[in-house]
Subunit: 558 residues, 2 copies
């Protein structure tokens, strides 16, 4: 019998998203988190990434349980894909237990239900006894972050204790009053921790992360001066942020309308758990908005990252059926751009500015967003409370991990006490040593999400298979003056049967003619047009041929 | 005879770059600036944009002169393309005079020489008499910005006076001691100005733009603590910034090496004009670097925006022949990311962080860069000195222009006094009125710059012709473990003759095998690989077929 504990990240190191970590002891494996990754624009035709779990599938070891730290997509989003879809035919994941705090479990179960995956995440409560998964004993610790019920996990093993500090910050005045449980962290630190796995994404920023409460009065002030619609876009899961906007709206006598599928969904979950309460008559349905004066309305809208199919994008581009921007409206981006999304977001903001409405975003005002992540002082405080022998920064890009390493030296750690590793790199812990172990080779695993924000259907695909799935290139000439299709688009199809190619070509032309046939007015957002061509094609091809080739839309401005 | 003056922007409004403005009086046209635009990632296969000058080519009016405000690419970069290349066969631009301040003219003439365009930009000096171009009288006013000899232009016309305030800020302590000529601006304001055309890019930021001098001591402090190579990357034309690094290096006894073609070129121009002086023996040639200790060296490197073929990219990716990063090195990004470049820049920074070197960039430290643009207080001060009747914000995205409009209301202007226009929108000025006039329909004009930073050759191309120039798609499978090509790449070619297609396919395969044949080590930067595939193909196709089709590289990770 080996006498050590292995920590292996399958995702979440060096790339922020698709968080998934393994703790192995003898033949037992504990999994922490199971998140999605987000593709950048260099990955053409691909929207989402998954952690590569081939190591788990090949391993003879037993998965004794999975623990979810919080309800963000990059921590729970891969669940429906990995629990069933990725399995080779005939194999089944042994039915290990999966646990998460109330909001985490509720969001994860919604997702599993939506994808018709017959598994259930069990709810753990912060005030209930520990969870025992084989040789692992788990204590959930409440922390503040940008989604309710976020947790860190204290993991007792026969080799010693670990503290898994995924996304957190020390907010002493969170909007829901539920602070990070500092007393518990301190007492767990005193029990003794071998290694702290710590969030590091905010390490570039000095001081403590600002409190959520600081923005409530800023919303109120803006609301008091707003003569038109008050529109706020933020992450759907940031319930405290939504609650602050709702509270401020209530104070000035405005009604609230939720717009966007992801928002209405998380809102339902939050309401069911009692995390969001709207007074009787406070809410307006989207199709009732037209019956109210603009100055009576606050709209909570999904799409703060510039997602091209989101409600916010449609509103910004003047293509939303119910909501039209007017010059007295105020639009607030209550979120920072994630690196890589700037072009889409700024293009959206420019479109809004053209309507004459007032638009506020982080480059103009820092008043409407605070980060959910620990800044440098929070990170130091955590390390100081836990007092671990070793530290592994997680959940950051390499530049953040490296900077955490430098910061740890200020705290008295030696360089070799801080492990700067890549995904797939094992760290081997014994009672009195820690060293890098084997390296598991990980592949990029992609999943296509054809309908943007609306995860209605999906198909899994390994990048290796891309060339086999075929490729469709569409050269569409669009009239810049009226947004309509000029000439027959040039369509190149590879990897389909001759029969399918000619059928697809005809259908694609018909569909594009339908979507881009009517004149809509001057094109202001070419990014949006290009994505629209791509998505029209993807949907049609899936409907017609039940396949998902790589679709490359090329839009030619005429 | 019409009795009005027309202002028509051909570029620079709503999209920041490709600045080009027309002032028309009767049958005379004055052109201000002639800049390049930079394509974002939504414009596949295209690197640069040009202002559309078809209006000028069709017009029967006479171009009486062109004035350049400063030496940045987005103000002078289109000169070699537009002065000759864009002309239909058999036509010639009438030989109107072109003027600019000493550094502006020197940079522009370098560029014209490089492209073998037989035209000359004449030098104007701030202390010399005004320039008369037909009915236009031009007074150049010195302003501070991030390139030497930046100017604003006071334009006297029979219809009244205009103040063209392209990129500027009020830096009271610039490194070269040459401050914005406030006294002159004030006296020109007193002469009376109908309309102020004002930079607005920095309007999101409150207060005054910080002085260049504030970063000198920060460089010195960093240098004193640096035990390895001291590497700074910034814009090649930011001579004051380079001078500050040189001065700080001199103080601590380090020698300086310039790396990157654009840098060595601007450096030559600056030296010739006496704007950059290196003490005897202070400079080290790149091929001599190996003879010095790391701690004796400061490297000034081109590529601060993550350009994939730049010297900085090659150093970051461990692919530079002479320069290898070591853990004691310090690398400073002395520039902010331009929106859209974040993914490339951060990927570069992550690569550097993996080397163990210390890397400083704006998210970590604001100590090593200041903006060259006016912030809100600078903008207000300019408007206050000029006291124009009307204002047209220029050189910003629409969100900046809209915000400038709101700010102008604080200064007592009515909404209708500030023109928020788009490129191609004429404003018609008479002695006592100003109103929007005709709209010139402008097309996007693209230019391909196949060799990234190194503008060796080029070809002009209108987007409309894209489908006629052909398209080449390359699906290359690259081994993530060693960076080499796996299998024969799948190559799709459209729009070439059958003969050319088969020839190209063979040659492309051979070329890609050559470039990606040898094993190089684990791939860390997929963006770079994809661009490399694209550029390898573009070069080969141009060499073989003398054509520039749209090349879409698709890299499949294996």
């Amino acid at each position: 019998m080996q006498n050590h504990l292995s920590f292996i990240p399958l995702g979440g190191i060096g790339d922020v998203t698709k968080n998934m970590y393994l703790y192995e002891y003898n033949n037992q494996i504990l999994i922490v988190d199971c998140g999605l990754g987000f593709a950048d624009e260099t990955m053409l035709g691909v929207d989402l990434l998954l952690p590569d779990i081939s190591y788990l599938l090949k391993s003879q070891k037993q998965i004794v349980g999975m623990a979810l730290t919080h309800g963000h997509e990059d921590h729970i989003g891969a669940l429906p894909f990995l629990l069933e879809s990725l399995l080779p035919a005939g194999r089944q994941v042994p039915s290990f237990p999966i646990v998460g705090t109330p909001f985490t479990a509720a969001l994860a179960n919604e997702k599993l239900k939506e994808f018709r995956v017959n598994r259930k995440v069990e709810t753990v409560r912060f005030d209930k006894p520990d969870i025992q998964f084989g040789a692992f004993n788990l204590t959930f610790v409440r922390v503040t972050h940008s989604v309710p019920d976020s947790s860190n996990i204290f993991i007792r093993t026969p080799m010693g204790n670990f503290y898994h500090a995924s996304d957190f910050k020390f907010d002493n005045t969170p909007f829901d009053g539920k602070t990070t449980d500092i007393a518990k962290i301190e007492s767990l630190g005193k029990v003794g921790v071998i290694c702290l796995m710590s969030d590091c994404l905010g390490v570039e920023k000095h001081g403590f992360s600002k409190s959520e409460i600081t923005i409530l009065e800023n919303f109120e002030k803006e609301l008091q001066n707003c003569k038109g619609k008050f529109i706020v876009t933020t992450y759907s899961s940031n319930i405290s942020r939504l609650n602050q906007v709702i509270k401020a709206s209530e104070r000035v006598g405005r009604k609230v309308c939720f717009i966007g599928r992801s928002l209405t969904k998380t809102r339902e979950v939050a309401e069911k758990l009692g995390y969001m309460k709207l007074k009787q008559g406070m809410e307006v349905e989207l199709n009732q908005v037209k019956n109210y004066k603009d100055s009576d309305l606050t709209l909570l809208v999904a799409g703060s990252q510039g997602q091209e199919e989101s409600a916010m994008a449609r509103i910004a581009n003047g293509e939303h059926r119910e909501i039209k921007l007017r010059k007295d409206d105020v639009i607030i981006f209550s979120a920072d751009p994630i690196p890589g999304n700037e072009v889409s977001i700024y293009s959206m903001i420019d479109s809004i500015a053209k309507s004459g409405a007032r638009v506020l975003y982080s480059a103009v005002s820092r008043d409407f967003h605070v980060s959910g992540h620990a800044f440098r002082s929070d990170l130091k405080k955590m390390a100081d409370l836990i007092k671990p022998k070793w530290i592994t920064p997680i959940g950051g890009n390499f530049r953040h991990m490296a900077l955490y390493g430098v910061m740890a030296q200020d705290l008295g750690y030696n360089k070799k006490d801080v492990f700067l590793i890549e995904n797939g790199q094992e760290i081997v812990f014994t009672k009195d040593s820690a060293r890098p172990g084997k390296v598991i080779s990980l592949k990029k695993v992609y999943v296509d999400d054809i309908s943007g924000e609306e995860l209605e259907s999906f198909v899994l695909r390994d990048r290796q298979k891309l060339s086999n799935s075929g490729i469709v290139i569409i050269l569409a000439e669009i009239d810049s003056e009226n947004g309509s299709l000029v000439n027959k688009p040039d369509i190149i199809i590879r990897g389909f049967t001759e029969y399918n190619i000619s059928r697809l070509r005809i259908k694609l032309f018909e569909e594009l003619k339908k979507v881009f046939g009517s004149k809509k007015g001057k094109v202001t957002n070419w990014i949006y047009v290009r994505k629209q061509v791509g998505e029209t094609a993807e949907r049609l091809i899936f409907k017609t041929a039940k396949r998902r080739p790589l679709v490359l839309p090329v839009v030619i401005e005429v």
